[in-house]
Amino acid sequence: MAAPVAAGGGTVTRRLLLGAAGGLRLRPARGFRTAGGLQVEDETCTAEPAGDVVNVVFIDRSGRRIPVQGRVGEDVLRLAQRHDIELEGACEASLACSTCHVYVSQELLDKLPVPDEREEDMLDLAPQLQENSRLGCQIILTKELEGAEFTLPKITRNFYVDGHVPKPH
């Protein structure tokens, strides 16, 4: 799946030229600005994407269950960030980091397409890698994923020291 091409916009040109040096990205970057015709959103946009609803559950880093509504076609990283769940996406879905690492429930693992070799390469660098590890930015919601659970790895000691409670939905 090639990223859509847009004319102009220095940032877009740079990303598409990855083909030569580092391989094409699999989907358009989130949250970057371009002068071209590529559909983008800025980092603070929380508008819901179109598509049928898919109900999933995030289990955050302190073990709290947070049910959210996603949309078919949306990736799990974006879904998490839309709902203020602490999943980082340092490279913005470019398969150049493993900060969006999540664990998926076992039954779910079989429903997902096999990871791209490039995703496997980045997963190799994720701390606390498990059999059911995936990169959130590479999981695209489908109706089949209704009820899926995504668990965030415990990366530091006791979260939410300040008693912050993320908004449930």
């Binding site: 580092g22 970057a29 980092e43 490279c91 913005e92 390469d121 530091t156």
Partner: protein
């Protein structure tokens, strides 16, 4: 990440200030923790991000010695890895928080001392990374043609202190000592087709030098074996597929490894499998054609430990390297290279030592372990120094990728948050934060560069880059940066 109580108090403070009892409301604003972070690379920014997100009142000021932010994301990540630099957008969001401020062009330990920061802030987090490199400690190390990979990377990435490196690229063979991702980066930049490099943010000056380079062959030399390489699979794959080049891997180096790796952890297994495949398997038709037409080559040499850089007849230039042949004692990550007595020489005119970065002590008042090259700490709390914390490479040592530093920085931020909650950091001691630092800097003639100043520099770099078909043309002279923002 917006502020809540503090800002509301300020907004309604003026007319109500005269009312009795109102001073109690104002004192809530004084309970806002004042925190500063030294260093604006990933560690600094991720620590700041976590603090701002998990404390509704905390103010975080980030200090940086260069005018421009982002540390190794700007100066370390290779020019042909722009996706890794996307994290700058995350950091920019943090900098835009109204409880965060960036102050560039301020050298802690010179313009303002850590003790002065501690007087101004409730907590000081040291995230200044590793600006130096380990040295080989062998004869000939200072001959012309020998450079640290760190300086070479700084040179092509526009780090001001390395802009005049003028590396000698006139010999056909280059040797990189070390087999980590930095070693692969420098090999790749030396051998990449110019057509690829010229569209990246590599500096104009280094691109011109590389365009005249005679280097055709790069050896990455390691003291131990294939199972101990420190580079990672994505970078190795990239090297194997580098247009215009062919890999030189000796199948003999990989004999019997297939069995050894059957039950080892997945990352090491996949990495080793890729090396074995590339060394032993017959290439596919497409690959074979590419390799046949390649004009440049790169290879891995194992179990060779550098003994001496050999001088040319003029006594000033490097002409080769003498190495001890080693054998391995033990296995896996803890295997040790032991000299066998055999020695080998390799002819080369360019030697890049890529054996690790190294942190330096910032200020004599801060504890520092020169052997480990880190600030002694427990969970990011500097030992014996309440109110002082550290994150990133200066805390853990100079290894790891973005996620390692991110997790580490969040962990340090957790320690700060815990200490705020338990009262270890006493908020009833009100601190002035930047207000007092500003007067110190002013009295010393130091003008901090703000984040919006950086954005002017950023815009200028992007505009210049556009003219050249690059994402940006980095400004490498700090004076030019300061002039641009009229400092």
């Amino acid at each position: 990440m917006g502020s809540s109580c503090g800002r509301v108090c300020w907004k309604w403070g003026s007319p109500l200030r005269r009312l009795p009892g109102f001073s109690r409301l104002l004192s809530t604003a004084a309970l806002a923790p004042q925190i500063c972070v030294v260093g604006s690379g990933p560690a600094g920014f991720y620590t700041a991000q976590h603090l701002l997100k998990h404390h509704r009142l905390a103010r975080v000021d980030i200090y940086e010695k260069l005018p421009v932010p982002f540390g190794l994301v700007r100066f370390g990540v290779a020019p042909d890895h722009p996706e890794v630099k996307n994290v700058i957008n995350t950091f920019t969001q943090t900098a835009h928080s109204d409880r965060c401020a960036y102050y560039g062009n301020v050298t802690i330990g010179k313009d303002v001392m850590v003790k002065e920061l501690q007087r101004a802030y409730h907590a000081v987090v040291l995230s200044y990374g590793a600006e130096d490199n380990r040295i080989l400690g062998i004869p000939g190390e200072n001959l012309s043609g020998v450079y640290s990979a760190r300086a070479f990377v700084g040179w092509y990435n526009g780090l001001p202190e390395n802009r005049d490196l003028k590396p000698d690229l006139s010999s056909e063979t280059a040797v990189v000592l070390g087999q980590g991702n930095v070693a692969l980066d420098v090999a790749r930049v030396l051998l990449s087709p110019l057509d690829i490099l010229r569209k990246t943010d590599i500096t104009e000056g280094s691109l011109a030098a590389i365009a005249c380079s005679k280097v055709k062959r790069v050896w990455l030399v390691g003291r131990r074996g294939p199972l101990q390489v420190a580079f990672t699979i994505k970078e190795l794959r990239e090297m194997i597929n580098l247009p215009g080049t062919r890999p030189l891997l000796d199948p003999a180096d990989f004999t019997g490894l297939g069995d050894v790796i059957k039950d080892i952890p997945r990352p090491r297994k996949r990495l080793t499998e890729l090396m074995i495949k590339s060394a032993r398997e017959k290439p596919g038709e497409k690959e074979a054609a590419l390799w046949a037409s390649a004009t440049k080559e790169w290879g891995l040499k194992f179990q060779r430990s550098p003994l001496e850089v050999l001088p040319a007849t003029d006594g000033k230039q490097a002409r080769g390297i003498r190495m001890a042949v080693t054998r391995l004692e033990g296995s896996g990550e803890s295997a040790r290279a032991v000299p066998t007595g055999e020695v080998e020489e390799l002819e080369c005119g360019l030697i890049l030592s890529s054996i690790g970065y190294r942190s330096l002590p910032l200020d004599s008042s801060i504890p520092f372990d020169p052997k480990l090259g880190i600030i002694p700490n427990s969970l990011g709390r500097v030992q014996g120094a309440p109110g002082l914390y550290c994150s990133g490479w200066v805390k853990r040592g100079p290894t790891g990728v973005i996620i390692t530093t991110m997790n580490d920085s969040f962990d340090t931020a957790q320690s700060v948050l815990e200490d705020l909650q338990t009262g270890v950091l006493n908020l009833s001691n009100s601190k002035e934060g930047f207000k007092s630092v500003r007067s110190i800097l002013h009295s010393r003639g130091v003008h901090p560069v703000t984040f919006s100043d950086w954005e002017k520099i950023d815009a200028a770099e992007v505009a210049r880059g556009k003219l050249a078909g690059k994402p940006r043309e980095k400004i490498v002279d700090p004076q030019e940066m300061l002039q641009l923002i009229s400092h």
